[in-house]
């Protein structure tokens, strides 16, 4: 029960925040609206996203603008939770922020490697990163080449994995991204031992291990189906952590010569016990479904634990994706049914 004391405040806070999440019913209403301004007005009237929508005027309804605002909402929620947390939970949140950081670096790498003319558009993220992250946006936006970018990351933990790649020949954006992701997953997986206590560690191991497994499955699937990659390249790409899938099974999946063999191997994976799989659900949808079930179940079973925090952040991220999709659908005047389908809320 020791956790009740540490988590009492934060869980109550999260409950309050959860009550402000959009329900499927809300999405149905949104899907029935006409035009982006109407959606914004509806959100405003119903008291959603007051913090970010106040700044939005009707001239700035481009998708990019709205996405920027919505990502700020995510950061805002993160901040709220962070402020409510004690030291122990902050350690976890500090690790969690790595996903935002790798996203940011990805974005910058894309710009410098592809030599986009457009400058970095990152000012809206600056407040958040200055406060909670080791990365300085101030420095990053001065970079013009990959080398400069990596130099500008010198004081952060990402310098080592990135600079190791720098001197090698034939390195592409893909390799940098891969290195970042591998580093992030590896670190999150390893550090769970240092920052979580026993019960929390078990919960976390289960949900994070499953997440890694599912990601690996997705990657193998895509690599085989769309890119026809060699086994050895696929092995290089995987996160070297297997939770519920044995190494043998991974080998079988990767080296399956035909699509049928692959599907047969796929059926042996414990995550695909769902009868809907491969009939109505795509692998991506399955990923989402599995994770959501896991997170929600974790949060319900152990409400006074770290699970509540990451379950909320997961839900929030999902909602933001749906909302972005919904707004786009409304912009192009899709019928409500299709809109809901695009949001992953098929009726």
């Amino acid at each position: 029960m020791g956790n009740l004391l540490t988590y009492g405040g934060i869980v109550t806070k999260i409950r309050a925040m959860e009550s402000k999440l959009l329900t499927p019913g809300d999405f149905e209403e949104i899907a029935g609206l006409h035009g982006v301004p109407a959606v914004i007005a509806w959100l405003r009237d119903n008291g959603f996203y007051p913090f970010v929508l106040d700044d939005l005027t009707d001239e700035h309804l481009h998708r990019g603008d709205i996405e920027k605002l919505l990502i700020n909402q995510l950061y805002y929620d993160y901040m709220k939770i962070f402020r409510f947390c004690g030291l122990e939970q902050r350690k976890f949140l500090t690790l969690y922020i790595m996903r935002y950081e790798t996203d940011l670096i990805d974005y910058c790498l894309r710009i410098v490697i592809n030599h986009y003319q457009e400058p970095f558009d990152l000012n809206y993220k600056k407040d958040f990163f200055d406060r909670y992250s080791q990365i300085s946006i101030e420095k990053l936006i001065t970079s013009r080449t990959t080398d400069q970018l990596i130099e500008n990351l010198k004081d952060t933990e990402y310098y080592k994995p990135l600079s190791a790649l720098r001197d090698k020949a034939g390195i592409t954006l893909f390799d940098y991204d891969l290195a970042l992701d591998q580093y992030r997953f590896h670190k999150l997986w390893k550090n769970r031992k240092n920052i979580l206590n026993k019960t929390e560690r078990e919960i976390y191991t289960r949900s994070y291990g499953s997440k890694i497994d599912l990601l690996n499955l997705q990657w193998i699937y895509r690599a085989k189906k769309y890119y026809g990659m060699e086994p050895v390249d696929i092995y290089n790409m995987l996160i070297p952590v297997h939770f519920k899938i044995s190494t043998e099974l991974v080998k079988e999946l990767v080296e399956a010569p035909t699509a049928d063999d692959f599907l047969n191997a796929m059926r042996k994976v414990s995550y695909t016990k769902d009868p809907d799989f491969l009939s109505s659900l795509t692998l991506e949808q399955m990923y989402r479904k599995c994770l959501k079930q896991l997170y929600v179940a974790d949060a319900r079973r152990n409400p006074y634990s770290i699970a509540s925090i990451y379950a909320y952040l997961f839900k929030k991220e999902e909602e933001l994706e749906r909302l972005t999709a919904a707004i786009e659908c409304v912009r192009y005047g899709l019928p409500p049914n299709e809109t809901l389908a695009h949001c992953g809320l098929a009726v």
């Binding site: 090698k168 060699e230 050895v232 390249d233 092995y235 290089n236 070297p240 190494t247 080296e255």
Partner: protein, 652 residues
């Protein structure tokens, strides 16, 4: 005492400058001033622009002389003429350079071999003949390294169904070294796989023989041989240097002298036109030195010396050179720490020497410790010339004297009969205050005397400098002296049970001086008839003045009480030794001598340090701040490095 300085100009034909510096300036102390900036009134002055011809040779000579093994055991060989010296340097340098080149080539070979060793080193665990493998025809082989991370992946996923054999060599932090073997038909496929695993090939030229370990050891042996050859060369160099050691050192010394003399030109100036070209040097010299200098150069036609009389109007304040009897020399350190006296101040060194030793003795009165300090400090001073040691030695004498007065010997108070009193026991009864340790009373009385004395010194100095305000109206001037003297007199009369003077007299003695101190600035202006206006209004002036007056009064009080520490330390010394004796169990009749000895050492060092600092504080705050500014600049004579030796030689 401050040595009296005069400003002199030395001039003569231009070519003669080196001879003059060599002959005279290395003998007489002179602080050279830049002639160009000092002699503003003289026309036609130009700087010397010649470059020092000795610099390069000197640098080389210094380098070689630095290689001599025991320079202090070598007697310099002074028979060489100047061109012979240059010849010597050139020859040694050539020979040295040749040897150095040979060494460089050998070092290159060693580096090369080390590099090859580095290449083969990680493959040492592979136990097969390299030449055999390199000759394989039907099996393809690749040597190289694999990042550790990918090596693990390979082991995890690929090992079993990879149609190749990977033989491991050594691991380091990030790589696994090794080789893989594959049949030529499969090699393209396997190469792709390994490329994906970021395998980097390392190629061997056909220069390795035997197994990698053998090849490695063979290289090691060869490196050893080459290193031995380098050592031989090293010895040759040493032999070369030692062969010429006496000449080299003599050359270095002489060249140094010449180069330094040459650099006198930086301070000198050239004067005149093409027909009459001459140099001019100027600087400060002590008066007696000037007399001797003039005497010696009387018959020298090529040197003209001119002593400037009204120096201050032209050449600023002269530097300060202290000259005190040998006994007081160490105390110059304390004066220098505070600031050297300006040329118009008195040198407080002797005063410091007397009062410092006296007060130290009073605070640290113990016959045993005093003698130890005297002997230890004295020996150290004579051997190493550390001024602080000299000071400790002087202080030790007074410690001994006070030890006899207080009757204390290594903390034992029962061996010697005190000639005067025991600080910890002897009490005096004073009216109004009550019973008090006699030493406290005496030290405050002593302090009053010291303060009055310092005031007198202030008045004398100020009067000498014709500073009216400071002489009469300063808080350390006559007004302050009268005020403070009156207080002292009143207290003494009261304490000794005499009648206190009449109120009217006291009023005049106390209040009048204070008003004078308060009105110091306007009064000074009135007397000197200076036309400076007061900057602030009368009210502001009074408010500020009254606050300052309060501060002055407080400082009289606190400065006087400050002297209580003399008595306090006299008592604390006795008390601390009592503790030591108690710890050693002396009262039972058989003290533990180890404790006694260590206790004595501890108290001696600890208290010596604290008392030393406290006395210095008294000197600086209570004494110096009353009469001494310490704004002088030090006299730094032009010194040829070997000038000292020459002086001694010429005396002989």
């Amino acid at each position: 005492m401050i040595v009296k300085m005069k400003f002199i100009n030395i001039s003569g034909p231009r070519q003669d400058i080196d001879r003059v510096t060599d002959q005279y300036l290395s003998k007489y102390e002179i602080q050279l001033e830049s002639a160009l900036s000092e002699l503003k009134t003289v026309d036609n002055l130009r700087p010397f622009v010649e470059t020092n011809p000795y610099r390069d040779a000197l640098a080389q000579a210094e380098q070689f002389a630095g290689y001599v093994e025991h320079p202090d055991q070598v007697t310099p060989d002074g028979r060489l003429a100047l061109n012979e010296m240059f010849e010597l340097i050139r020859n040694v340098s050539e020979e040295y350079q040749g040897l150095q080149d040979k060494k460089g080539r050998l070092q290159g070979t060693i580096d090369d071999m080390r590099g090859r060793q580095q290449v083969i080193a990680p493959f040492r665990p592979l136990d097969f003949d390299l030449q055999d493998v390199l000759g394989f025809k039907f099996i393809a082989y690749r040597f190289g390294k694999l990042p550790l991370e990918y090596y693990h992946r390979m082991q995890k996923y690929l090992e079993d169904n990879l149609n190749a054999i990977f033989v491991e060599g050594e691991h380091d932090d990030s790589f696994v070294y090794g080789a893989y073997f594959v049949s030529p038909g499969e090699s393209t496929r396997i190469d792709t796989v390994f490329r994906s695993l970021h395998f980097e090939r390392i190629s061997f030229d056909g220069e390795y023989h035997g197994t990698p370990t053998e090849a490695y050891l063979k290289l090691e042996r060869e490196v050893g041989k080459t290193a031995a050859r380098m050592e031989e060369l090293e010895e040759e160099v040493a032999a070369l240097i030692n062969r010429h050691a006496p000449q080299l050192i003599a050359t270095r010394n002489r060249l140094e002298e010449l180069a330094n003399n040459f650099d006198v030109r930086k301070m000198a100036a050239r004067m005149g036109d093409s027909q009459e070209d001459s140099y001019i040097l100027c600087g400060w010299m002590a008066e007696d030195d000037i007399a001797k200098f003039q005497e010696e150069s009387k018959d020298d036609d090529n040197i003209f010396i001119m002593v400037e009389e009204d120096r201050e109007s032209y050449f600023g304040t002269p530097p300060t050179k202290l000259k005190n009897p040998k006994l007081f020399k160490p105390f110059e350190m304390y004066v220098q720490m505070y600031g050297l006296p300006a040329h118009d101040e008195m040198d407080p060194t002797m005063l410091v020497g007397l009062t410092y030793s006296f007060i130290f003795g009073a605070m640290f009165g113990d016959v045993g410790h005093g003698l130890l300090l005297f002997l230890g400090g004295g020996l150290l001073y004579l051997k190493k010339k550390i001024p602080l040691a000299g000071i400790i030695s002087c202080a030790g004498v007074f410690s001994t004297i006070f030890g006899f007065l207080f009757g204390s010997l290594f903390g034992f108070e029962d061996i010697l009969q005190p000639l005067w009193l025991r600080p910890i026991e002897h009490m005096t009864t004073l009216p109004f205050i009550g019973k008090l340790n006699t030493v406290f009373v005496v030290s405050v009385a002593f302090g009053m005397g010291v303060i009055l004395f310092a005031m007198v010194l202030h008045i004398v100095t100020a009067a000498k400098n014709r500073d009216v305000g400071a002489t009469w109206f300063d808080s350390n001037g006559v007004a302050g002296l009268v005020f403070y003297g009156a207080i002292v007199a009143t207290i003494v009369l009261f304490m000794t049970g005499h009648k206190v003077p009449a109120a009217g007299l006291l009023l005049v003695m106390f209040v009048l001086p204070l008003i004078l101190i308060l009105l110091k600035e306007p009064l000074t202006r009135m007397i000197t008839k200076s036309s400076e206006k007061m900057e602030e209004g009368v009210v502001m002036f009074l408010v500020q003045g009254i606050f300052e007056l309060v501060e002055v009064l407080l400082s009289y009080f606190s400065n006087t009480i400050s002297f209580v520490r003399i008595g306090a330390f006299a008592i604390s010394h006795a008390a601390m030794m009592e503790v030591v004796l108690q710890l050693s169990g002396a009262e039972s009749g058989s003290p533990n001598w180890v404790v006694v000895v260590f206790g004595n050492i501890f108290v001696c060092a600890f208290e010596g340090l604290i008392v030393g600092i406290q006395v210095l504080r008294l000197e600086y705050y209570e004494l110096f701040s009353r009469f001494y500014r310490g704004s002088g600049r030090a006299f730094t004579p032009y010194k040829n490095k070997n000038g000292q030796k020459k002086k001694a030689a010429s005396k002989r």
